[in-house]
Amino acid sequence: MTINNRENLFIWLNSLEVVGILFVLCVAFFFQFVLNELPCPLCLLQRIGLIGICVGLLLNLKFGVRPAHYSLVLLSALFTGFVALRQVALHVVPGTGEYGSAIFGLHFYTWSFVVSMCVVIYTTIVLSFSVQYREGYLKNTSWKTVRYILFFLTLAIVAANIVSVYLECGFKPCPEDPINYLIRW
């Protein structure tokens, strides 16, 4: 494998990771708007952490792959993991109830913890490969198209979350166990 192909591989991996995180956020929207399962404050904080992972990876795609960008991805993933673990702990004791539907037997907050830990392990391994820190890939115009698409998808997801949170909570603190939207239209 040539050096250029190795560099492209890491850009592809970064792009695929962004797509994966955006897919998780879209699944959350599906459950919110189709199945009417409103997100609790801890769920919203996990969404914030996942968006942080996307933003860190977009820094790689825009400015070039750098260890500093990977460290921001790690920080966001750790934050998401902490919040998810907090929510898992609230419901882990039998009889304490649960929040939301289960997917393949695990609830959203458990999957969120699994995804965030996978991001931590993956990022820790990937950032050790020094070949990806060379410059030059930004001159490849095909990557610009991928970058634009991923950037606008992330922007759309963030904007949709802002509208969703406003409809659910208005300008007040979000309720612990939301049932209905605060603002109806």
């Binding site: 404050p41 914030i48 933003v55 820094l59 825009k62 921001l72 920080l75 992330t154 949170v165």
Partner: protein
């Protein structure tokens, strides 16, 4: 929550316009703010003062 998502939106705008250091700075600020929000939600349920 609105503030945190709004900060991410501003961060994406900064990245779009090529302001790398500002984007990273706002990234850190957003994470710190999210930690403060988490702290509020955790301690408000426990009735303790951390």
């Amino acid at each position: 929550m609105l503030i945190a998502f709004g900060l991410w939106l501003i961060d994406l705008v900064l990245i779009w316009f090529g302001l790398r250091k500002s984007a990273i700075g706002l990234f850190i600020i957003t994470l710190i703010f999210a930690c403060l929000v988490l702290n509020y939600h955790v301690t408000s349920n426990l009735n303790i003062d951390l």
